[in-house]
Structures are given as C-alpha cells and as structure tokens.
C-alpha cells in the first residue's frame, strides 16, 4: 500500500507563473475508501545559526523561525473509493492565484549551509479515524520566471575583474622562501555570472621561484542572517575545482571554467532578514616540506605555503 507523487517534469523545475502538474500514483492491494485527497503546498526559507560563528550570542544558537513563502491546500478529489492495483490521479495547481497577493517573493530553490529555500508538495489521503492516512512528500524546484521584465537578457555584458597575486598582496604570513623568491600570478575573472553559464576566467603564472603544487578554485557561499540586531554571517565551501596540478609552465594561460552546481547556488539575494552571496577564492599551494604533511587544504585557514585571492561573485538568473 503506497502513494507517491510524480511531477510532470523529470527535472522538477517550475516557474512561479506556471502550473505545477503531475500525478498521484497509488498502489493498493485492495480497494479503499477515502475522505478526500488533498495536496498541501508549502514553501519556506529555513534559517539556522550555528555556534562558533563570531559575534553571535550563545542563546541565539539554533533554529530561527522559518519565513513562509507559501502555504496552501488544494483538494484533488472529494471522498470516494480508490480501486486496488495502480491508480493515477492527475493534479494541477498554480503557485500564484491570479487575484491573490503572495506572502513573500518566490525565491529560487536553494540548498545551503545555514539557509535553505524549499518548495514541498505533499499528498494526504485521509481515511477517517480508523485508518492511518496515506501521505507522501515531494520537493519541486522553483526558478525565476523567464518572462519577468527585470531579468537581464543573455548574454550579459561580461564584467571582468583583473587581479594580480604576488608575495606582497598576501595578508597572512608566507614561507620565507616564498617571501624572498617571490611570485607573480595574474588573471581575470567574471564577477557577474548567469546561473546557466559557467564562471569563466583565466590565470597565468608569470613567475614563481618556489614550485607550485596545485591551484584550486573554491566556490564559497556567504550566508547572513539577521538575529536580533546582529547579523550572523557564515561562509562555507560549495565546491572546489583544481585548475593546475603540479608545477605548471610559466607564462601559459590556464582557463578558469566552473559550471555552477544546481540547487547549491541561486541568484544572490539581499532580503531583509537574510542574504545569500557568493564568492570565489583562488588558492595557490606551493611545494614545501610542510605542505606534504597537510595535504588537504582548508580554504578558511591559509597556511604559509598558500597564496590566495578572493573575488566576489554576483549570480543572476538570465532569460
């Protein structure tokens, strides 16, 4: 005896101005009677503040009340019977009813560290007090409407930032041989990026006295939550992409090309109670005796054999 929701699109992506369609599929060993089949649609921004982040008072630790985007119930069938075997019950609902004013903006789906934005639909087949009701839940994904006028046209004008890294641009302490030998890395990278496009840029090792072990690009999210009067900001790693493995040739341009992972990224948001931003940190690991021992690099704590450069990244949804 089971029930499940099948959405019309295999990627489960819908836009706020589109109807969400699908089927409720029941598989029953014998026919049952029910008192109505209802869909509950629930969308919210869930926030949490973790201990340890600077400036947050211990007492605020924990889950903060989620921000509801949408909460509605749709009746699919009135009471009746469902026969045994497999039965498909089609449904369709709008997120936005024509006259209705939404509680909140329909933010895009986002699965982050401290913040997550989720759209859930659950089915409930109630069978009276004697029987347990059958239910199932399914997440669907919301992306901004393509028809919205405020979305920029593709291709967006490339906003590139040019950067240089030398031993003098580093704010942490460096190995003495790095300090004395010196290095110079130049490159450019886009700072405004469409979610459907990769992050693009390039990088050149112009010189380096110390051989390079690896060059990695960390994609980071910065999640800020308003707690009382304070803002708790946490940065965490989404994805690391290595662009150089070993002591690469000097003067050769290496491409930066990072496909943005779905769900883990969304358009940068600056809302009142929370904000979601992104940035890219470029970390060069130099070969040294010590780096061999600590082979895994942590993007947060830069060691003396690292050199890093952070570049803010604004993500947008384009047409």
């Amino acid at each position: 005896m089971s029930v499940e929701i099948k959405l019309s699109r295999s990627n489960r992506i819908y836009r706020p101005n589109e109807p969400v369609e699908g089927k409720i599929v029941t598989k029953l060993s014998s026919s049952i009677s029910h008192q109505g089949i209802r869909l509950k649609v629930n969308a919210s921004v869930n926030l949490q503040v973790r201990g340890g982040s600077a400036g947050v008072i211990e007492s605020f630790y924990g889950v903060i009340k989620p921000i509801t985007i949408l909460n509605k119930t749709v009746e699919v069938l009135k009471s009746g019977r469902i026969s045994s075997g497999s039965t498909e019950i089609p449904f369709s609902f709008w997120l936005k009813d024509p006259g209705e004013k939404p509680l909140e903006k329909f933010y895009e789906t986002y699965h982050g560290g401290d913040i997550s934005i989720q759209y859930l639909v659950s089915v409930d087949i109630s069978r009276g007090y004697l029987h347990k009701s059958l239910s199932a839940t399914m997440e669907f994904i919301i992306e901004s409407e393509k028809g919205l006028e405020n979305l920029p046209e593709k291709p967006i004008s490339p906003e590139m930032v040019i950067f240089y890294m030398t031993q003098d641009t580093q704010r942490h302490s460096l190995l003495p041989e790095l300090k004395s030998g010196g290095f110079r890395v130049s490159g450019k990278m886009c700072t405004l990026c469409s979610l459907s496009d990769p992050i693009e840029g390039e990088l050149t090792i112009e010189s380096s006295a110390v051989p390079i072990q690896s060059i990695d690009i960390h994609l980071l999210r910065l999640e800020s939550i308003l707690v009382g009067e304070k803002i708790a900001t946490e940065s965490s790693l989404i994805q690391t992409t290595q662009i150089a493995d070993g002591d690469v040739c000097r003067g050769m341009t290496l491409p930066i090309y990072i496909i943005l992972p779905r769900l883990l990224t969304c358009p940068s948001i600056f809302a009142g109670p929370f904000s979601i931003e992104f940035k890219v940190t470029l970390v060069i690991t130099f070969q040294s005796e010590q780096s061999k021992v600590h082979s895994k690099s942590n993007f947060k704590t830069l060691k003396s054999w690292h050199a890093a450069e952070s570049i803010p990244l604004e993500l947008i949804r384009t047409k």
Binding site: P211, T241, D245, I259, Q287
Partner: protein
C-alpha cells in the same frame, strides 16, 4: 647357342630415315628483337635480388624507399615506425601498436594514490581518513604485478558496466573517475602507455554508454512516440529532456575536483556536445588550455593524445586546437630542463629523461598525424606551418628559424612530399638550427634524405641541397651519424649523377672508418649505402673506379659483408665474361670472403647454396682468352680457396675440362698443359662428396682426355668412374630412390663413351663393359626395371662395338677405334658374342623379377626391341625374343599397342615366325 650381330650401315640408314631438309629463311630464335631480349635479362636479374612482392615497380627510387623504411634500418631508433601506415586505420590498431612498443616488465611501481585505488577492489572500502593516513605512511613507491594491475582494471571495467546496466549510473560514474585518476600517476613510467590504453578504453566505454542513453532519450518525443535520429542530426532537433540529461552529465563532470580526471571524463563524453550545440567543437580549445594545468609532461602529453582522439568523433574537423596542443607540447619540451629539474636533481637525468621523452613521443606523433590527416591543400598546410611558428607567411613556409627537434621530426614525417621537395633547402636550414636534447639532429637529416628520395625528380635546387648536406655531414666526427645521413641522401647523388658529391661521400666514409669502431649500426648503414651504389651502377668496372670502394668494403664483416659480396658477384657476372685480371682478382677476394663467411654460419642452407651458385657462376664467367695457363692457375687457386663449396668444385672441373677442349681446338698441343688440366680435374673430382656427381665428372674428364689423345689417362679415369659406380646408392638410406632418370642417363653416357675407348688386349677387349656389368649386378639396391634398362643399353653397346665401321670415333687422330684395331677379328667378335649371351640371359632373368605385371610386360618388350635392333636373324636371338614375347603376352592384354608394334617389328626383322604369334 648362336648369336649373330646385325650389320649396320649407319650412313645409308641415316639417308633412308632422315627427313628431307629445307633451308630456313630466318633463324627461328631471331624472331624476337634483340632489345626485348635485353629487358628480359635485366628484369630477371632484379627479381633475383629484390623483394618479389614489390611487383613491377622496378624504378630505383621505389626500391630505395622500401629500403629506407624497413624495420631493420630503423631498429636503432625506438618506435620510430609506430603505425607508419596509420592514416585511415583505426584507433584500436594504434592502441595495439602503442602497447607493443612499450613492453611492460612484470612489476610496476606505482604511487600511493594509485595503490589506494588498486586496493579498493579487495574487501570493503575503507573510510577515507584511513586511506588518507595510509597515503601518508606509504612514503615512496609501491610495487604491484602487471597482472594484478590489469586484472584490477578489468574488474573496474566490469563493475562500471554492471552498475550502469543496473541503472546505478552514479556508481559507474564514480568508478570511472577512479580509473581516470590512475592516469595522473606517471611513476609507472614504461607502463604508462599501456595504462593509457586500458584506461581510455574504459572511459570510451562510459562515453559510449552515455551517448547511447541520451540518444535513446532523444528518440522519444515528448508524447512518447519513437522517432529515428539520423546520424547527421542537429542539436535543434533534440528534445528538451534529452538535452537536460546531457547537460547534467557535463555538470557532473564539472563538479570533479581534480583537474586530470575532470578533463578525461569530459573528453570521454565530449561527443555528446552534439546533442546540446550546433557547434560542438566550440569547447575544445578550452579543454586544450585546461590540459596546460597538468604539470607532469607525460600525463599532459597523453591527455592531448586523448583529446586529439576524442575530437575526431565530431563531424567537423578543427586543426586550430591541434595546433595549440602541438605548440603547448613544444613549449613543454623547450622547458624540458625546467620540468624535470623539479622532479629530480639534475645530472642523473640524462638517462631517465630520454626514456621519458620516448614515452611522450607517441602523443606528438599522433597529434601531428591528426593535423595532416586531411590537410592536403597548400593553403591549409601554410596555415599549419604558420600556426606552428615555422612559416612567416603562405609563401615562406619555413622562414622562421627553429623548432623543437622532436616536433620537427614528426612534422617531417607527415609533411606532404611535394612540400618537402620544394622546400628542401629551407628545411635543411631549419634542421641545422634545431638541435636540442629532445631528438638526435642527424636522424632528422636522415629523415629529410629519405623523404626527398621518395620523389627525387621534384626536389628543388637539388644541387644546392646536396652541397649543403655534404657540408653538414663533413662536420660530423662520428661514423654512425655520418653514415646515417649519407645513407639517406646517396640516392640523390646517384640519380642526379653528382659524381663529385659521391666521391666526397666515399672519402668521408673512408676517413671515418679509419679510426672509428664499426658496430652493428654502422655495418647496416654501410650495407645499405653500398647496395644503393651497386644497384645504381650495375657495372663492376664503374664501381671499382670509385674512390675507396675496395677499402670500405674491406672494413665490413659479417652478414652485411656477405650481402654486399653477393650483390657484387651477381652484378659482375650477370651479363658478360670477366676478362680484366684486376677485376678477376677483386672478385676472387670477394668470393673468398663469401666462402669464408659460410664456414661461420652453416645453418642457412639456402643462402649458402645461393653463394655457392654465385661463386661458381663467377668461375664460369672468367675468361683469360688465350692465356690458358693463367686460367688453369686461377682454377687451381680457386680449388684451394673454395674447398667447402661442392658446386664450385664441379664448376672448376668443368672449366678445366673446357680448357683442354680449348687447347685441343686451338692446336695448342702442349701435352704437359693438357695433362695438368686433367690432373687438376681428377684431383678436384675426388674431393666432391657425391658419388653420382663424381661419376659424371669422371666420365666427362675421361671423354676430354680421350679427345686429347691421352688414352691411358682416360683409362685411369674410367676405372675411377667404375669405382664410383660401385659406391653409388640412389636410396641413401631413404625409401625412395633419388634421380633414377639422371643415373640411367649417366650410365647410357658411360656406354656411349665405351664405344670410343680402344679395347685393351691385355685386360681383355670387353673388360670395361664386363666390369660395368658385374658392378651393376652387385648393386643390391638396383631395381629390376633399372637393371633391365641398363642391360638393354649394354647389349646395344656391344652390338655397336661389333660393327665394321663404328658410329663415331674419338676426335683425336692418334686414338684408334675398335673397328680399326680389330677389323674382322674373329676372336674379338667371339668375345663380344659370348658377352652378349651373358647379358641376354641376365636380361631375361631380370625381367622376370619385376614384381609389377604391367611393368614386367613393358620391360620384356623393351628387351625385345633391344634384341631386334642388335641382332640379325639367328637362333639365339629368336629364342630370347620368343621367351620375352611370351612373358609380355602373359602380362599385357593382346591389344596393347606396344605389344602389337613390337611383334610387328620382330616379324619384320625375321626373329619370330609369323605363325608363332
């Protein structure tokens, strides 16, 4: 019993039986024009020494091309011949060759990274922290057997395919990443090409599975109906869901942290871009650039190889990315010192560096091949050369000055021949400027020469080119390098008749042979050069006139020397007699060296036979004209020198016999000379192992002696022949007799010789045939059929001896025939008659012994014919004939034609009464 010999009048018989003769207007053999004869002869000569599979391409440049590219020639350069005829062949065959080129030892050293991947096959996967700790523990190198490694890879492949078909595509994807990660471990060195082949096979399999899955999705429309997807589909025709799946795969690949597996996996599924974009090749330049991030040169070179391979799965070709790849590799090679210095301290590098370069070379080779695969247009080649930084513009294809020599090498191999020919001088300059550690400069000079030889007639400014080459090689001190380059270019000098260059080449070789050691490489180059010269001139006098030819030849040894010697002999003796004493002396030395080399290698029977044949042919062709004494001296010298060549000794006997004939003909009646010739023959014959050959030669010499009037010598030789006959055994241990016909004709010849030999009264006038008869009777291996035929021959001989006027006589005046010696001597005739009675009786006994019925019948008829020809009407002859006819009738059917005609003949001869039949 009475036997009466038939009287013969040979002269009148000839007149009766011979046909009427008419003078012919033309000579029957002169129908063919002389020139055509010539062609046939030379063609025959060529075929004998060149590969017959080459068919009718008899042109010299073709043959040189063949020589230039044989594997023995380039054995010194490793894997130079990888897939020479690759173009148009499959990737699979390329992989096979690649694996064969780098054979792997049983143990493979691997880094801790790959060892952790290897280990996961056994038991449950360890938590990642453990693996991490292990990695730290295992400092340095681990070892694993080849078998383990390969079986683990096969296991991984099976797991990937199993997981895929169980719809667990995430697992198969993750396992594929592991496989790709193995490629970042270059510490396996010699195993790397094999690893590359095995790993890319797995990745290609994944790529095909992904492609197939998306294709299936694309073949369903949004309404669930099936449509056929044509091979040349457009991305716009692909439904959204298929595109979505496809894009997801690229997203998944994009999320791989490590660079190398990310590149390999994107390449593996790269052809799936066709579902997404109308210009699927657009992302390739990015991947080419990404490969720059792989610092390990070996790994990054093979990555580019795979890239070139994957790019070919797309319908469009893009030479741009291949050029970038090639240029990146060039830069890496130029920075070679920098790259390797980070790995190990310099100094001990030279060895590992060259072996690593060898491992990297297939990537350059493959990319270069792809680059020139379909680029035949001059304009496009100009683009390529400009892209590679060689050309200044479309008209100055090699204007810029240098290139990494390894890259240059592969460029030279792939360049269309007309480009090479029309820019030879510039290319020479380019080679001169490109001298670095990555490749031996002289091999590039060599390659250029070989390429130019492909089409010498189209080489521009050939004189300047050769001048330059000579100038370059004159700087070389090493004989090996000198020979390498000269070998490749000598054909040009030969074909363009640049005699001064040829002279300076030979001078150069000679100078360098004086103080350089001559090893295998040098020998094979020398061999090749000398053969080219020999084949070009095709005339020994011209060759001997060349500077130092003789000296250069004398420094050679071993099989190369033998091959050159063989060729010299065959050229020298092909068409005309050898008359010049210095030439004879030279060829004698050549032959001697050939003969001596045989003692060292007695195994190759066929080659030895060929050498012996050549030497004996040379002896045959030697002609001292009237200086017969010098000729004899030469033969004696030969006898001493070529002791182990039986065929040569036979030729010496023939030649010395020929000298006797010559001497007698020219009335040089110097008995001492003739005697020494015959002595020479006699001594030589006794050292020939085969009795049958001895027998023949003794007979020949006996006849010659008889011709020269030396009856006693002749008698001695006949005695020797009889001794030989005694020892002949055609079976020689085997079950089937060899050469029965040859033996029988030898005996017939012997019989015909007997007719000329004057009978010796002291020993008995029939002593020779009687001896022969008794020896033949004593030979246990003689078959009845053979013996019967010999007896017939003897009967005919005796009958011939009985004539008042013999059929023929010895030519020498002083030798009397038996007809003169015993004219109407009754005792003599009696002796003949009694001997023939013995023969006839023996004949009848022998015929009956023949086990096969039909053969017995035929033998009996043969005997009847012999009797009918030999004897007149007499009781004895009639009796024997009747008996034989009876035997034949029992064995053959009455309408047998031979039987009928024999009876007819007997009737006519009056030996059998008509009533009897």
């Amino acid at each position: 019993m009475e036997l009466k010999f038939r009287h013969r009048d040979y002269k009148s018989e000839e007149q009766v039986h011979s046909l009427h003769r008419v003078a012919a207007v033309t000579h029957p053999l002169s129908l063919q024009s002389p020139s055509r004869d010539q062609v046939d002869v030379t063609d025959y000569g060529r075929d004998e020494f060149f590969d017959p599979l080459r068919g009718d391409h008899g042109k010299p440049e073709d043959s040189m091309k063949g020589l230039g590219r044989t594997s023995t020639e380039i054995a010194g350069e490793p894997y130079r011949d990888i897939a020479i005829h690759f173009l148009g062949k499959e990737w699979t065959s390329y992989k096979k060759v690649l694996m064969q080129k780098f054979p792997v030892s049983k143990m493979i050293s691997i880094s801790s990274l790959s060892s952790s991947i290897m280990k996961t096959g056994k038991g449950p996967e360890k938590p990642s922290t453990d693996v991490h700790l292990e990695e730290l523990d295992e400092e340095g190198v681990n070892y694993i057997t080849l078998q383990e490694y390969v079986s683990r890879l096969t296991e991984l492949k099976d797991e990937i395919s199993r997981a895929w078909h169980a719809s667990d595509r995430v697992t198969s994807f993750n396992l594929s990443i592991k496989v790709a990660k193995l490629l970042s471990d270059t510490s396996v060195l010699q195993f790397y090409p094999t690893l590359f082949v095995l790993a890319t096979e797995i990745l290609d399999m994944l790529g095909d599975m992904v492609w197939e899955r998306i294709r299936q999705k694309a073949e369903y429309t949004e309404y669930g109906t099936l449509v056929h997807l044509p091979d040349n589909f457009q991305a716009t025709h692909i439904c959204a869901e298929a595109k979505e799946t496809c894009y997801n795969w690229f997203c998944k690949v994009g999320s791989i942290r490590e660079l190398l597996p990310r590149i390999y996996l994107e390449l593996a599924i790269y052809h799936c871009w066709r579902f997404l974009s109308e210009q699927p090749a657009n992302n390739l330049p990015r991947l080419v650039m990404m490969a720059r991030g792989i610092a390990d040169p070996l790994a990054s070179f093979y990555c580019r190889l795979y890239l070139a391979h994957c790019a070919q799965k797309l319908p469009q070709r893009d030479i741009g990315l291949l050029i970038i790849s090639m240029n990146d590799m060039k830069i890496l090679l130029m920075n070679g010192a920098h790259v390797s210095s980070t790995k190990k301290p310099s100094g001990a590098l030279s060895g590992t560096r060259s072996s690593k370069l060898g491992l990297m070379e297939p990537a350059i080779e493959y990319v270069m091949k792809c680059l020139f695969k379909e680029s035949c247009e001059l304009l496009q080649i100009g683009d390529i050369l400009m892209g590679l930084g060689l050309a200044r513009n479309q008209s100055e294809l090699f204007g810029n000055s240098s290139c990494v020599s390894l890259v240059l090498h592969h460029l030279l191999r792939e360049l269309p021949i007309r480009i090479v020919c029309s820019n030879a001088l510039d290319i020479l300059h380019l080679i001169e400027c490109s001298n670095d550690y990555s490749f031996d400069q002289c091999l590039n000079y060599k390659l250029l020469g070989l390429r130019l030889c492909e089409n010498i007639s189209h080489v521009n400014e050939v004189n300047l080119v050769m001048k330059k080459v000579i100038q370059v090689v004159s700087q070389f001190n090493s004989l090996d390098e000198y020979l390498n380059v000269v070998d490749a270019h000598v054909d040009i000098a030969l074909q363009k008749h640049m005699n001064s260059y040829l002279d300076s080449i030979l001078d150069g070789i000679f100078e360098r042979t004086l103080d350089d050691e001559i090893g295998e490489n040098e020998l094979s180059s020398l061999q090749s050069i000398l053969l080219k010269i020999l084949n070009h001139f095709d005339n020994l006098e011209n060759i001997l006139r060349l500077n130092h030819f003789n000296q250069i030849l004398s420094v050679m040894q071993g099989s190369s020397r033998t091959i050159v010697n063989t060729q010299i002999l065959s050229i020298a003796t092909r068409n005309s007699c050898v008359r010049d004493p210095t030439t004879i002396q030279f060829l004698f030395e050549v032959s001697r060296s050939l003969h001596d080399s045989i003692n060292l290698s007695t195994i190759k029977e066929k080659e030895n036979n060929h050498s012996a044949h050549l030497v004996s042919h040379f002896i045959h062709m030697v002609d001292y004209d009237s200086e017969v004494e010098l000729h004899l001296d030469f033969l004696v010298q030969c006898r001493g020198a070529f002791g182990s060549m039986s065929e040569v000794k036979e030729m010496i006997v023939h030649s010395s016999n020929l000298l006797v004939v010559k001497a007698t003909r020219n009335d040089i009646s110097d008995v001492i000379f003739v005697k020494s010739c015959i002595a020479c023959s006699e001594v030589t014959i006794s050292s020939i192992p085969s009795h049958l050959k001895q027998l023949n030669l003794y007979l020949e010499t006996a006849e010659v002696a008889l011709m020269a009037g030396l009856v006693s010598n002749s008698d001695g030789l006949v005695d020797s022949a009889l001794r030989c006959l005694h020892n002949v055994d055609l079976f020689e241990g085997s079950r089937m007799p060899k050469d029965i016909d040859g033996f029988q004709s030898t005996l017939c010849k012997f019989c015909s010789l007997i007719v000329m030999i004057p009978g010796n009264i002291e020993r008995g006038v029939t002593s020779i045939p009687r001896n022969m008869f008794s020896i033949l009777s004593s030979l246990s291996w003689m078959l009845p059929s053979m013996k019967a035929k010999m007896l017939c021959a003897l009967i005919l001989t005796v009958a011939a001896l009985s004539q008042n006027n013999l059929l023929y006589h010895a030519t020498h005046d002083e030798v009397m025939g038996n007809d003169s010696l015993f004219y109407c001597d009754q005792q003599y005739l009696q002796e003949l008659s009694s001997f023939s009675a013995v023969l006839l009786q023996s004949l009848i006994d022998t015929v009956v012994q023949e086990p096969i019925q039909a053969a017995r019948g035929n033998l009996a008829l043969d005997a009847c014919n012999a009797i009918a020809s030999s004897f007149g009407v007499c009781q004895g002859a009639s009796d024997f004939s009747s008996k034989l006819v009876e035997t034949a009738k029992l064995s053959l059917s009455s309408n047998n034609k031979y039987l009928q005609s024999t009876i007819e003949f007997l009737n006519n001869r009056g030996l059998v009464q008509r009533g009897e039949t």
